[in-house]
Amino acid sequence: MNSPMGDRVGNQEDIVIKAERVSKSFPGVRALKEMDFEVIRGEVHALVGENGAGKSTLMKIIVREYIEDEGNIFIEGNNVKDLGIRGVQKLGLSLIHQDLNLIPMLTVAQNICLGREPVTRFGTIDWKAMGLKAADFLGQITSEINVEDRVEGLSNSQQQLMAIARALVTSPRILILDEPTARLDQKTSDSFFLFLERAKQKGLTVVYISHRLEEIYRICDRVTVLRDGTKIITAPINEIPQTELVKYMLGREIEQQVPKESVPIGEVKLSVRDLYPKEKGKDINFDLKSGEILGIVGSIGAGKSEVARAIFGADPKQSGTIRISGKEVKTNAPHDAIDHGFALIPEERRDQGLVGNESVRKNMTMAALKKKFCVGPSWIDQDKETAAVKTSIKTLGIATPSPEQEVQFLSGGTQQKVVVAKWLMSDSDIYIFDEPTKGIDVGGKYDIYKLIVDLARQGAGIIFISNELTEVLSLCDRILVMFNGQIIKELETQASNREELLFYVMGGRDYAKTVNDL
C-alpha cells in the first residue's frame, strides 16, 4: 500500500508475522482499530507510537495473551486463531513483557526455567541441571548475575536481562522486545545491542518496541508507526528522518527543545553532608539551590537511587545530616520528608508508585490528599479533587478513558505519567526525580521537562536522576557523577559534553588529562 517497502516484499515466505485488520477493544477503550502489521524474516523491526497507542496490546495478541475481537494473525503462514500461548511458543515466538512478570521470591534459575524445569530420572526437579541451564542462557547476555540469587534482590537492569534470558529458553526464532532498554543504562544497553547483533546474524527476527528513538535508528531495519490503534506507516528506518518519525507518531510537530530559558538560581536550599546510606553509597556531600536542576548520573549500581531514597527516608541512613535552608531536618520516614517539603518520584512505578486496583484519580491525589484536597482535617473535597485530576490528565496527555479507570489497565508509559502527575500535585519544595521519563513517549517527555523547568522557575530545587545522558545534559544546570557509591565528579553542564560525562560515568579519573594524552 503506502509502504515504500511494499514492492520489495515480494516473497510471501519471508513474512514471518502478518497481522491483518486486527481490532481489539477494552471496556471504554478501543486499543486497536484494523491494525495491519508485517515483519520480514531476519529484520529488526521497530514498533513505535505514543503511550497507549496499542503497541503492547498488539504484541500480546500476537502471542495469544489477549484474543483479538476481529482480524487475523499469521505466524510464518500459520493462522494462530486456535493456538494458545504454548502453541505460538512452538512456532518460535517469544515476548519479553514491558513489566517483566518475574516471580520475586524465586531464584534467577527458577524463574528462567519456570515451567520447563529439567527433571532427573525419578521425575524430580534436577536442580543442578537447572542451574547450569539457566547459567547457559543468562551467559549469552550478561555475566554479572548469579543464578542462585533471588530475583527480589536484583537491580532493575539485572531483572531486565534476566527476563531476556528467560525468553531465550524456548529457543525463539522471533523475539518480541517490549521496551527492553527502559531499565538499562548506557553500558548495559550497548552490550545488549551487541547480543542482538549476534542473534540477528544467527537468523533471529526481532520486533523492537522503544521510545528511545536514537537506539531505533541505531539497531533497527524497518519501522512501523502506530497511532491511536492503527498503522500509520511502515518503512525502512533510513528513509524517515527523526523529525518525520515523531510527526507520524504524534500527528503533529513538537519542539524537541527543552525550554531552558535561564531560570534564576537562588540560595542554597538543601545541603546533604556526610551522608552514608545504609543500602549503598558513602560520604555523599552536595548542595542544591533553589531554581536549580541538579542531575545525578552513573551506571546502574552506582548508588543513585540509594542516595535519593536515603535522603527521602525511604531507606535508613547510617549517618549524615540534611539541612533545608540551613536548618537541620530529620527524615526518618517518607512522611517526615514530605512534611519538610520533599517529593520523590520513585524509579519503579508498579511496585513503588501505584496502587494498581485503584483509580487514576485516587492514585494522583494520594500524596497531596490531606494537604490539598481535604476540608478540615480529613474530609475529602471530591469536586476539587476531580477537577485537579482532569487538569493533570490534560496537561500530561494521559491516555485514560476516564479519571475513574483503574491504573492497572493503563499502558506502561501512561502509568508512569500518573506517578509523575501525583508528585507534581504535591506542591513540594525539593523534588527528586528518579528516572521520571522511563517508558514515556517523545511528546510526554517534553511535557515533563517543561513542567520540571516550571517547578524550578517557581523556586523549587530539583534533583534529576537519569540514565539518559542526553536528557540530563539538556535539562540540568549541574551534574554529579556517581561511581561505586561515591560522587566522583561534579560538572557544570555548560562547560561539559556527552563524552566527558560518559568518561566519568564509566569511572574515569581525569578527563582533561586523558584527552590531552591521546
Binding site: 477493544s25 471504554g28 525511604a314 512534611d339 501505584l354 490528599l369 474530609w379 511528546g443 517543561k450
Partner: protein
C-alpha cells in the same frame, strides 16, 4: 505559551469520542450478578416452600440478626481492606458482653458505666492487636490468634465460666425493645452504618486504609502513615465488635462465655462477600448486603428445618465461594479482560 494546547495528544481526541461513563470493569461484574442471582434463586425456593419467609415478622427477625452481626462485620471489613485479618473479633465481642454483664449484674455497677467499660475494653484489645502488628511486625493472623486464646482465658477467669443471667430490664431493652415499632438494634445499625460508610468513603483515613490494602509500599513512599492507619483499623475493629457482643447479650438477656464465638465466621463471610459485591469498592455497603444475605440464608435454612450440620456446610461453602470469587475477580481484572470465548 499555552501548555494545555501544546500537549493535547491524539489520545485525548481518540478517547473523547469513546468515553464510557463510570468504571469499566469487564468480566468482573459477572461475579457480582452471580451472587445476586444465586441468592435470588434461594429466596424464591424458600418462599415457595415456606411462605412465612416473606412475612413481616420474619423480616424483623432477619433485620435484628443482621443488625447484630453488622458491627463486627464492618470492623472485620475495615481490617481486611487494609490487608490484615482479625481472628479475635468473636472473643472481643464476647469479652465486652461478659464484662458489661458481670459489672452490671454481679458487681452492681450502673448500666452506663458497664457499657462504657465493655466498649472500652474492645477498643483496648484492638489497640493491643494493632501494636503487635505494627510495632512488633507480627503477622495479623498470628497476633490475633494469640489474642483470641488469651481472651478465652479472660472470659473464663471473669466469672469462672458461669453464665450471667440476671440483667437489668433497661439493658434487655437495647436488644429487644422497639422505637416506633422498629427494633432498637436497627437504629444502632443505621447510625453506625452511616458513620462507617462516611469514614471509609469520604475521609482521607478511609481512603488511605483501602490504598494500603492495595500496595503498602507505594503508600509508604507517598507519605501515608501506614503504621498509624493499620493500628487504627484494629482499634476500630475491636471497638465495633463490642457492639455486636453487647447487643447479642441484651437480646438473649444473658451473658455466657461462648456468646461471641459465632461472630468470627459470620463477620468474615459478610466482609468477604462485601468485598466482592462492589469489586472492593464501597465495602461498608457491600458488607451490610453480605450480612443480610448471610442471615437470610441461615434464616431460610432454619425455616426449611435444616440441622446445624447444614448451617455449617452452608456457611463454610459460602465463605469458600466468597474467597474464590475474590481471587477470581482479581484475576479476571488483571489477565483476560474482554477476552472472547
Amino acid at each position: 505559551m499555552s501548555k494545555s494546547n501544546s500537549s493535547a495528544t491524539p489520545s485525548d481526541v481518540r478517547n473523547s469520542g469513546e468515553i464510557e461513563t463510570g468504571t469499566p470493569k469487564g468480566n468482573r461484574s459477572i461475579i457480582r450478578y452471580g451472587i445476586f442471582v444465586i441468592f435470588g434463586l434461594f429466596y424464591a425456593i424458600v418462599t415457595i416452600l415456606r411462605p412465612g419467609f416473606l412475612s413481616l415478622g420474619n423480616f424483623y427477625d432477619i433485620f435484628i440478626e443482621t443488625s447484630i452481626i453488622s458491627f463486627v462485620s464492618f470492623g472485620e471489613a475495615i481490617v481486611i481492606a487494609a490487608g490484615g485479618l482479625d481472628l479475635s473479633v468473636g472473643n472481643i465481642a464476647g469479652a465486652a458482653a461478659m464484662l458489661t454483664c458481670h459489672l452490671m449484674s454481679n458487681l452492681g455497677f450502673d448500666l452506663g458505666t458497664s457499657l462504657v467499660a465493655g466498649v472500652a475494653i474492645g477498643g483496648l484489645i484492638g489497640f493491643g492487636n494493632g501494636l503487635m502488628v505494627t510495632r512488633l511486625h507480627m503477622n495479623s493472623l498470628i497476633a490475633t490468634l494469640g489474642t483470641m486464646f488469651v481472651l478465652v482465658g479472660f472470659l473464663y477467669g471473669l466469672t469462672g465460666g458461669v453464665t450471667v443471667h440476671i440483667v437489668p430490664e433497661n439493658f434487655e431493652y437495647l436488644g429487644n425493645g422497639t422505637i416506633m415499632s422498629i427494633p432498637v438494634p436497627m437504629y444502632f445499625m443505621a447510625f453506625i452504618f452511616i458513620l462507617a460508610y462516611l469514614f471509609m468513603e469520604k475521609t482521607s483515613y478511609g481512603r488511605n486504609i483501602r490504598m494500603i490494602g492495595g500496595n503498602i509500599e507505594a503508600c509508604r513512599l507517598s507519605g501515608i502513615n501506614i503504621k498509624n492507619l493499620t493500628l487504627m483499623t484494629f482499634v476500630l475493629c475491636g471497638f465495633l465488635s463490642t457492639f455486636s457482643g453487647i447487643l447479642l447479650a441484651a437480646r438473649q438477656a444473658l451473658g455466657n462465655v461462648d456468646l461471641g464465638e459465632r461472630f468470627l465466621l459470620e463477620a468474615f463471610i459478610a466482609a468477604m462477600l462485601g468485598t466482592v459485591i462492589f469489586d472492593g469498592k464501597n465495602i461498608i455497603t457491600g458488607t451490610l448486603l453480605g450480612a443480610i444475605f448471610l442471615i437470610s440464608l441461615l434464616n431460610g435454612l432454619t425455616l426449611l428445618g435444616a440441622g446445624p450440620q447444614w448451617m455449617y456446610f452452608a456457611q463454610g461453602g459460602l465463605l469458600l465461594a466468597a474467597i474464590l470469587a475474590n481471587y477470581y475477580s482479581k484475576r479476571l481484572a488483571l489477565k483476560i479482560p474482554g477476552q472472547k470465548k
